[in-house]
């Protein structure tokens, strides 16, 4: 691993001669590149284009108490080499602006708008720097993630109108939908510009479920923050909890017991299973194919009951802990799980066959909501939509964690497709792979302890943690503080990357296709809004 790292260090130092300083992390697969604001765009563009490294996250940190500056970290991941290159720059309080990299790397657009809302730093050159998170209802100059803003500050509501992009012309209607929707779904506001039934343009406004989670992480000791991490999202609870535990374990320098690694892998795959099967059922409901929808939900119920039997909670909350897992799976429970999964596999296979043979369903899902490879790459789309559009990326293979390097599995990628049916096919295939992974884990799982303990919690240590949740790549960045607290914990969920891609899949489709396309992406609003 360090051989590869050296190659990139040499490449960057030779190319940028004096404009970059390389700092090695105590972790094998991370490296930090410090540069000045004037060179930021060049360095980032070089890493992104020459090393073919997609942008994974942008984190802003209020380090004024440490270095008198804010610091912005740009994380790029090299998928073939298990290496993260983090470029960072200081931004001063007196001149609170930084060069925007969005014109060169469009995937950065939402990160920079979020930094502007939460820290008050201006991205110079950003094509659309409107408010993203706070909806303009906070008083001027209120920046919640700055250290001088107390977590429990109560502020008055300010009325403001937010701009929406619209299409003007004869016969063009503007259709507003949400935030209180007709279904049982999270809140988001969508403005369609449509002629008759055909949509010309969609503008989406999210962040209605912004709960101030990142600020709350800084307000509680790391032992309690685990329960906050589990509740960032309902259906990605195990992924977020694993990401958090891995981040703490990295900074504390502990290795979890081998049995715990396999148990974590089983839990994560169980989460993937119930999500994918439920999502396939949900897509059928979106296409009004209620029979398959009902069966999909029925199978999901069996899996959630299994979750409750293993963890005491239908969403796999309460089993993962820092240092391992809290509850073990004995032989009886293991047999029960394997038998149930065998039945689920047969049941689900029949369902998939019925779906693919139903011509009215296939007519709804084929060619609908196509996401082109160019858009997917440009916006940094991850997870199921990326694989359905031809991007071969999966964190379990690119940056292995838990016991994924010990098990064999394939990841389905469909080229030249990218429509709703491709996303359904990716999910169906991943269900079979997940069942195989769980069976392999049970075969290979060694006996032994399921938990270890944190001895020391050093302050001001940084680490990256990553998990492949059912929706895609989750990236977390942690910086610890003294007295067992967290200085900063940034959660970047896959939905944050994928939401901006949805408006690109809509034009040309009809209005009733929108819920179907939305369900085929199946993104979490809560993971995005935090």
């Amino acid at each position: 691993m360090s051989g590869y790292r050296q190659k990139y260090i040499d490449n960057l130092t030779n190319h940028f001669k004096g404009n970059v300083t390389i700092a090695k992390s105590f972790l094998e697969n991370e490296m930090y590149v410090s540069t000045k604001a004037e060179s930021l765009v060049d360095v980032c563009a070089y890493v992104h284009k020459t090393f073919q490294a997609p942008l994974s996250s942008i984190i802003c940190n209020d380090e004024r108490s440490l270095s008198k500056n804010f610091t912005i970290y740009y994380v790029f991941s090299l998928p073939d080499k298990d290496l993260f290159i983090t470029v960072y720059i200081p931004v001063s309080e007196q001149f609170p602006d930084f060069p925007s990299i969005t014109p060169y790397i469009p995937a950065a657009h939402w990160y920079e708008r979020e930094i502007k809302d939460m820290f008050g730093l201006e991205p110079v050159g950003h094509p659309d720097p409107h408010t993203l998170v706070l909806h303009g209802n906070m008083p001027e100059n209120t920046y919640p993630l700055r250290k001088d803003f107390d977590v429990n500050t109560r502020l008055p509501h300010i009325e403001s109108k937010l701009p929406f992009m619209r299409v003007e012309g004869e016969g063009v209607f503007e259709i507003p939908v949400g935030p209180i929707h007709a279904g049982i779904i999270e809140p988001g506001h969508f403005r369609f510009s449509a002629v008759g039934d055909t949509i010309l343009y969609l503008d989406a406004k999210l962040f209605f479920t912004h709960k101030g989670t990142e600020k709350l992480f800084e307000a509680m000791p790391y032992t309690k923050a685990l329960f906050l991490a589990e509740r960032v999202c309902g259906v990605c609870a195990a992924s977020h909890a694993t990401g958090y535990c891995q981040a703490i374990e990295k900074v504390a320098g502990i290795q979890i017991p081998p049995r715990a690694k396999y148990l974590r892998t089983v839990i994560l795959e169980l989460e993937r299973l119930y999500n994918h099967i439920g999502d396939v059922g949900n897509i059928c409901v979106g296409a009004s194919f209620l029979m398959c929808g009902s069966h999909g939900f029925r199978i999901r119920e069996y899996l959630q009951h299994l979750n409750e039997t293993i963890c005491g909670n239908r969403y796999l909350r309460g089993i993962l802990t820092i240092g391992g897992v809290r509850l073990d799976i004995n032989d009886d429970l293991k047999k029960h799980i394997v038998d149930l999964l065998r039945r689920v596999k047969k049941d689900f296979k029949e369902l998939a066959e019925i779906m693919s043979k139903s011509s009215s369903f296939m007519d709804r899902v084929e060619t609908t909501g196509r996401l082109s490879l160019e858009h997917a790459r440009g916006l940094g789309v991850v997870g199921v939509p990326a694989r359905a559009s031809g991007i071969c990326r999966d964190t379990r293979i690119n940056h292995p964690y838990a016991a994924y390097s010990e098990v064999d599995f394939d990841i389905p990628v469909y080229y030249e497709e990218g429509d709703v049916w491709a996303r359904v096919k990716v999910r169906i295939e991943e269900v079979y792979q997940s069942i195989s992974i769980i069976e392999q884990c049970f075969d290979k799982m060694p006996e032994g302890a399921i938990k270890t303990f944190v001895r020391e919690f050093p302050p001001y240590r940084q680490a990256l943690s990553y998990v492949e949740s059912p929706r895609g790549e989750d990236i977390y960045w942690i910086m610890t503080a003294p007295d067992n607290m967290l200085f900063r914990y940034k959660v970047r969920s896959p939905s944050f990357c994928n939401w901006p891609a949805i408006p690109y899949t809509i034009p040309g489709n009809i209005v009733p296709d929108f819920p179907l396309i939305n369900k085929s992406f199946e993104l979490c609003y809560s993971c995005t809004d935090l």
Binding site: P144, I184, E186, T209, H210, K224, R231, A237, R298, R314
Partner: protein, 263 residues
């Protein structure tokens, strides 16, 4: 080749019979918490470990008692794990819903059957009798993590729980609704929408708070972006604790609010 017809016939009827038949939760399920006052030595371990500060000390009759608020509890199970005297016991009971916020409090050493305020109770009963046989619900997500939503989707869409067998249906607009089912600590960005939805719902109406966040703000309480429970924004008629509450617990909550179950 399987046809849709063959598949459905072969699957058969899968609907559960709760509440006619008792359906105990799995063994590891974390439900109602009981505090044994005799064993409690007031070491404060549970108060310190609780992520939502659901445990508090109350003074009464010259002594200190431990009080747990189920409305704040996220059922993480840490209190039972850390108590060195085994004074805290987590049971399997998921029937925790209540029409009064105070009924969600567990006071160690006091009788669980505290009297309900009489006048408010009678008026509420009269309203609830109107909805007894048929209730139309509009679900409003005021910023939850989506767990409670998915539980409600499981209740409505899944053939296993099937909410409609109770005469309870989900409607598309608050203007058609009798009841608002609200989840989430109401967030700043959605507060206005929640208030407008409440006013758009015609009388008579009721509001049910679903989940720890809607009851008290849950783990997101005391933050700049949230309020501590939806009763800070709209009046609430029933509370269903849980994080998230399982579908059977939500059914119990509905039937309690409709006065179809005597607690």
């Amino acid at each position: 080749m399987f046809t849709k017809f063959q598949k459905s016939i072969q699957t058969g009827v899968v609907t559960s019979h709760y509440p006619k038949e008792k359906e105990p939760a799995p063994f590891r399920f974390r439900g109602r918490i009981e505090i044994d006052n005799e064993r409690c030595k007031q070491c404060n371990a549970c108060v310190e470990v609780c992520p939502t500060n659901a445990y508090t000390w109350i003074e009464g009759e010259g002594k200190r008692y431990l009080q747990l608020d189920h409305g704040k509890c996220v059922f993480c199970g840490m209190c039972e794990e850390v108590c060195p005297y085994r004074a805290i016991r987590i049971t399997n009971d998921f029937e925790l819903a209540a029409t009064n916020r105070e009924d969600l409090l567990v006071k160690a050493g006091f009788d669980a059957g505290a009297p309900v305020e009489e006048i408010g109770g009678k008026l509420r009963e009269k309203i609830f009798k109107v909805f007894r046989r048929s209730l139309h619900v509009r679900e409003v997500d005021a910023g939850s993590c989506n767990g409670c939503e998915w539980e409600f989707v499981a209740l409505y869409n899944s053939p296993v729980h099937d909410l409609q067998r109770f005469g309870i249906d989900v409607v598309a607009s608050p203007r058609h609704a009798d009841c608002l089912l609200v989840t989430g600590p109401p967030t700043r960005n959605l507060e206005t929408a929640l208030i407008k939805t409440y006013h758009a719902t015609p009388e008579p109406k009721m509001v049910i708070a679903l989940g720890a966040c809607a009851n008290s703000g849950g783990i997101f309480s005391n933050c700049y972006a949230t309020k501590n429970g939806i009763d800070a924004v709209v009046p609430v008629d029933a509370y269903i604790p849980g994080c998230p509450p399982r579908p059977q617990a939500i059914i119990y909550g509905f039937l309690l609010a409709l006065d179809r179950i005597k607690k």
